[in-house]
């Protein structure tokens, strides 16, 4: 396969008359077309036999300097890393196993690599993420119930979100793993390990800022109400109204139009002590009532459509102070 690729490249580059940019000048020799066709046919044949060609790791290229890449990675994120720790953050357990196997296969009795994997750093990073994200959410959404905060937290630390973050900061080529491209969980573990390494190198505040800037910002333009499925909204509303002494919530039909047509619309409001909590539309009264209850809950939680956007520049000291109060910290981090 590699031979074929080299051959095709040679055809493209050695022949001076093929100009990729200037089509008018092109005076392509007669042997080029059949050669390319032949190469293409052989490539296809190989693909049918062996499956699609595997992506070659960037580190297999001649122009590759791992140290420079690691250095540039730190600069890109505007962070100061301890070099060895950052390098360790990119080493997956599978890579060490693979390298040891390789050494054994050539007859080394006790293979040693002088490498340690990123699991310890990843564990530390995961702890930092949990602490910070929960406190950040508690500060940003003070009226949101704990179950809801948990749901948003679960979304933020889910593999899909962390995978996206990890890929977007350019870990793909730097990860040392037995697979290329790396498996999804390796990406996630690497991101956590990077945060752990940052904590060890530059301290807690920088690690928190990293989490705020790269993980919390994934809530940008996300409707937090959609992340939390409420089982029985009416029951929850009744409970909250009882706790806050707002009175019994009752639904009232405010308006309707187009009765007995396919375009019927009902407009229902929820009132407690003659004060409107929220409104909702629906094609029948039941749906309109449910929507109105959801709207009332959004208003009570202060997460309605016109809520203030999240403050992603919130000083991390504010969050760290919250974490220092033992009771609050325990309440926020436990049972997640």
């Amino acid at each position: 396969m590699t031979l074929l690729r080299i051959a095709s490249r040679a055809v493209l580059t050695l022949h001076p008359t093929i100009s990729l940019l200037n089509q008018q000048k092109a005076n392509v020799a007669r042997w080029v077309r059949p050669t390319l066709m032949e190469i293409r046919a052989r490539k296809k044949k190989l693909e049918i036999k062996n499956g699609p060609q595997k992506e070659s790791p960037r580190s297999n290229f001649i122009e590759w300097n791992y140290d420079a890449e690691i250095y540039a990675f730190g600069i890109r994120l505007k962070e100061k890393f301890n070099y060895t720790l950052l390098q360790q953050a990119f080493v997956d357990r599978s890579y060490i196993v693979q390298e040891e196997m390789k050494q054994r296969s050539v007859g080394v009795e006790n293979p040693s690599l002088n490498l340690s994997d990123n699991s310890a750093l990843a564990k530390k990073g995961e702890e930092l993420i949990t602490e910070f994200v929960i406190s950040f959410l508690n500060l940003s959404l003070p009226k949101f119930p704990r179950d809801g905060i948990k749901a948003i937290y679960r979304h933020l630390v889910s593999d899909e979100v962390l995978l996206k973050v990890s890929q977007s900061i350019g870990t793909k080529d730097l990860i040392l793993s037995s697979n290329y491209p790396p498996m999804n969980d390796v990406y996630v573990a690497t991101l956590k390990a990077i945060i752990g390494a940052l904590f060890e190198s530059s301290g807690e505040a920088r690690a928190y800022e990293f989490i705020r800037d790269f993980i919390c910002t994934q809530l940008n333009q996300v409707d937090v109400n959609e992340l939390w499925k409420i089982e029985n909204p009416m029951e929850l509303l009744k409970e909250i109204c009882k706790d806050k002494k707002l009175g019994e919530p009752e639904p009232r039909l405010i308006n309707n139009a187009g009765q007995n047509t396919i375009l019927a619309v009902h407009y229902v409001g929820i009132y407690a002590n003659k004060k409107q909590l929220g409104t909702g539309f629906g094609e029948n009264i039941q749906i309109a009532k449910e929507e109105a209850v959801k709207d009332s809950l959004r208003t009570l939680f202060q997460t309605n459509n016109n809520m203030k956007p999240f403050n992603f520049r919130m000083p991390v000291e504010k969050v760290a102070n919250l974490l220092k109060k033992p009771a609050l910290a325990a309440a926020s981090v436990d049972n997640i």
């Binding site: 890109r76 994120l77 977007s168 705020r212 333009q221 405010i254 139009a257 407009y267 539309f281 992603f312």
Partner: protein
């Protein structure tokens, strides 16, 4: 109509909400290939001698590889964080031109076609107040009225009738006489 004459339109979409938290330079790697003897690489050689160290110092987040190869035209390959790889020929370009191309490449977010922005901003939540409905500014008092209603249904801009005008004139005459 020749569609290729027009820019494709779209919305501004920074990768990964870049800049919401902190700004990351999207160019991660730059490979410069050139020949040490050919004339086509003259500009590239000048660039490497005079500007490359400076460029690398200013853009430390970019890993720059310089790859000499015999009797082949100079090439710039830019690799971005989203996995895009942009190949560019630098044949017969002078060092100033190359510097300009490089500064363009380091500002881009990938191998993107230029697009015409439909708006200079974009949001996933276009309405803060919610959509307008026929009930939005409806007076709640109308709920208890049975239509058709005489009071609400009367014409608002009724012009003065001839009888009314006559009566008004007579009244005005009477007023002036009394004075």
């Amino acid at each position: 109509m020749n569609h290729s004459q027009f820019l494709i339109s779209g919305f501004l979409r920074p990768p990964f909400y870049n800049g919401v938290g902190r700004q990351i330079n999207q160019l991660q790697r730059l490979t410069i290939k050139f020949c040490k003897s050919h004339g086509g690489s003259k500009g590239m050689r000048d660039f490497i001698e005079n500007h490359l160290v400076n460029y690398a110092k200013e853009n430390q987040s970019v890993v720059v590889y310089v790859k000499p190869r015999r009797h082949r035209s100079p090439v710039i390959v830019a690799e971005y964080l989203n996995g895009d790889r942009r190949w560019m020929s630098a044949q017969n370009r002078n060092h100033e031109e190359i510097l300009k191309w490089l500064s363009l490449l380091s500002l881009q977010a990938g191998d993107t076609e230029p697009i015409r922005y439909r708006k200079n901003w974009h949001t996933d939540c276009p309405s803060i107040q919610g959509p307008w409905t026929p009930f939005t500014h409806k007076n709640p008092a109308f709920n208890n009225i049975a239509f058709p209603d005489k009071e609400l249904g009367k014409q608002l801009n009724m012009p003065e009738t001839a009888t009314e005008k006559l009566l008004r004139l007579v009244q005005e005459q009477k007023n002036t006489k009394n004075e």
